[in-house]
């Protein structure tokens, strides 16, 4: 499994000294497939690397730097669009890590701009963004109604000139999911980065990341999410020796303690995160680890049955069974198939 090579290289950069050319090809293909090659380039900045690999890593560093710059600009444009509305704009995930200059932002590829705003401010935000040039990506009445009734975010929007997507969240999990995090408290606890731009508190960053990875999605990009958790946790601990306690306390408040504890067990096991309280692996953790490492030396996903199992699980977590059946039936009629 080549994702294991990637995990090892991120955890212990000196380990790449043992790689032959085939090993490098496998490592680089897995890192690209997991969108972690920019991160890998940062981690390997100070170790000896063959010239051919160094050239690839330099390109990745260049690309991630550009993406980071672009993400900052998008965040700046969103702040500008909401100026005068009194809405507190919290930026999430990659763009937030870059904007706040966190370790998780180094070399990170940032895709869409994810923002969190109070649910009752959604109509104001929607109007402000549309006035500033964002528009709906696709107008499908079923999807639109579905998002608005059940999801934690609006349907995605795209900027008409810059071609960049924005996801407007009003909480961090679908409304149909069993845990109900307190989004208002998260927004209240958010910390200013720059004038008009906020980031979640150190605890809430990890809770959001863990929720996104373990209580919502199908683990696509899981290694990258887990790397975020690892970096965020180490930084939290460096700033505050009692970080673990305050993190679990906040996680309990948001009904996400299971997801957070699992994320910490996984990141300790894979990335060697220190300071996590001794919490032995569960047998189910092994399934998660097998899913996270399901990537071969050509960058292909392996373990199809397990991957499909996690796809089904992601829907199961999102919705009660009857609703899930109705949703999948509607999607199936429209010709949607899981990847």
């Amino acid at each position: 499994m080549s994702a294991a090579l990637l995990v090892l290289a991120l955890r212990d950069p000196a380990s790449v000294a043992r790689l032959d050319a085939a090993g490098w090809n496998h490592l680089l293909a897995a890192a690209r497939a997991e969108r972690l090659i920019g991160t890998l380039a940062w981690r390997l900045a100070d170790v000896a690397v063959p010239d051919a690999a160094r050239a690839v890593l330099d390109d990745a560093r260049h690309d991630s730097a550009r993406e980071g710059q672009q993400a900052l600009w998008e965040a700046d444009r969103a702040v500008d669009a909401l100026r005068g509305t009194d809405v507190k704009l919290v930026v999430l995930k990659g763009a937030a890590y870059v904007a706040a200059d966190l370790r998780a932002g180094r070399g990170r590829f940032v895709g869409d701009l994810d923002i969190l705003v109070p649910r009752d401010a959604i109509p104001v935000v929607e109007r402000a963004l549309i006035a500033a040039g964002w528009e709906w990506v696709k107008e499908d009445p079923y999807d639109d109604a579905y998002y608005r009734q059940w999801m934690h975010e609006l349907p995605p929007m795209i900027h008409v000139e810059r071609d960049r997507m924005i996801d407007v969240h009003h909480t961090i999990l679908p409304l149909t999911a069993r845990p109900t995090p307190d989004a208002a408290a998260m927004i209240a606890d958010a910390i200013p980065i720059t004038n008009g731009l906020y980031i979640l508190s150190p605890q809430d960053r990890i809770i959001h990341s863990a929720a996104h990875m373990l209580a919502d999605g199908d683990m696509q990009g899981g290694l990258r999410n887990l790397w975020d958790v690892h970096c965020l946790y180490q930084e939290g601990l460096e700033a505050d020796a009692d970080f673990h306690l305050s993190l679990l306390d906040a996680a309990a408040r948001h009904q996400l303690i299971d997801a957070v504890r699992r994320a910490l067990r996984l990141s300790h096991r894979l990335y060697g995160t220190v300071g996590t309280v001794d919490d032995p692996l569960r047998w189910t953790d092994r399934l998660f680890i097998a899913r996270l490492l399901a990537r071969d030396g050509w960058g292909r996903e392996t373990r199809k049955a397990l991957v499909f199992g996690f796809f089904v699980r992601s829907h199961w977590l999102r919705m009660p069974p009857l609703m899930l059946a109705r949703h999948l039936f509607t999607k199936w009629r429209k010709g949607h198939r899981p990847q």
Partner: protein, 287 residues
């Protein structure tokens, strides 16, 4: 993947894997004269994989992907496997190359100085470069010209030349069967046949040259030569580049220098022979 080959073309190394042996065998034959880099660390991985488990065996259907993929790329039949591999390499370059500014252009060299030809698909730039490459010029590439942002040089990327429709016979008669790939009928772009560049083009594929003339050829019109404004040339070249935006300021600076120093003409021509005469004449006058 079960079948694999590593190829170096100009500055880029590709690791190509395939679920079927045929595309790899075709590459091995046509790239036989290229440097042996088996087992090297590759810049890019290309994958030719079945669109589904069944489609590996029944009416085989190739999904082209790799480090950089396009989700909506149309699948291809196994009989077009060579084309799929070439498209896979082009895709990786177009989406992932960052070490030079990529111009969708053909290029040939004489006396260390380079003629660059750019235009849309069907403009005749590939055929012209292939023909010039047989007549005293060194063929440097027919798909991408690589502009070095620091030195201003054009670097070669001499892959197989992809010839389409009427151009196939014209070139095949000139170069002979030994350097021609299999005829690929009824692809999305019509009939396609690949041509192996001459040995000198392969042997000198690390050697660039300064650009001396830029042409925008257009095949199938009455002979004509027109000058173009620098603003228009600049815009056309940004549109002909897949990584101009990704490279940022160095690309802007390099392209500005290119546009302000390299003489440029748009040329129309009715046939290959006319085109070669026009190109040679413009080279004498301008370069």
């Amino acid at each position: 993947m079960r079948h694999a080959i590593t190829l170096r073309i100009g500055p880029a190394t590709f690791r190509i894997g395939s679920a079927w042996p045929q595309p790899i065998a075709a590459l091995a034959r046509l790239y036989a004269a290229y440097p042996d880099v088996e087992g090297a660390i590759a810049d890019f991985t290309v994958r030719l994989q079945p669109t589904s488990l069944m489609r590996r065996f029944v009416r085989p259907s190739i999904f082209i992907t790799g480090d950089h993929g396009l989700a909506d790329a149309a699948p291809m039949s196994l009989s077009h496997g060579l084309l799929a591999a070439e498209m896979g390499m082009n895709l990786q370059m177009a989406l992932g190359w960052r070490r030079h500014l990529l111009l969708h252009a053909s290029s040939v060299e004489k006396d260390g100085r380079v003629l660059v030809m750019t235009g849309e698909s069907g403009s005749g730039k590939s055929t012209l470069a292939a023909l010039l490459g047989e007549r005293g010029w060194r063929f440097m590439g027919d798909e991408f010209a690589l502009l070095d942002c620091d030195s201003g040089e054009i670097l070669p990327f001499p892959r197989l030349v992809s010839l389409k429709n009427q151009a196939i016979d014209v070139v095949a008669q000139t170069v002979g069967e030994a350097r021609m790939g299999p005829m690929l009928r009824a692809t999305a772009k019509g009939d396609i046949r690949h041509m192996v560049p001459r040995a000198d083009a392969v042997a000198r594929m690390a050697q660039g040259g300064m650009p001396a003339l830029l042409l925008f050829p257009r095949f199938g019109h009455a002979a004509d030569v027109r000058p173009l404004g620098q603003g228009e040339i600049f815009m056309r070249l940004t549109q002909a580049s897949t990584n101009y935006v990704a490279l940022g300021e160095p690309a802007f600076t390099a392209l500005t220098r290119f546009v302000t120093t390299v003489p440029t003409r748009a040329i129309d021509f009715p046939s290959g022979d006319d085109a070669i005469a026009m190109v040679e004449r413009l080279w004498e006058q301008l370069a």
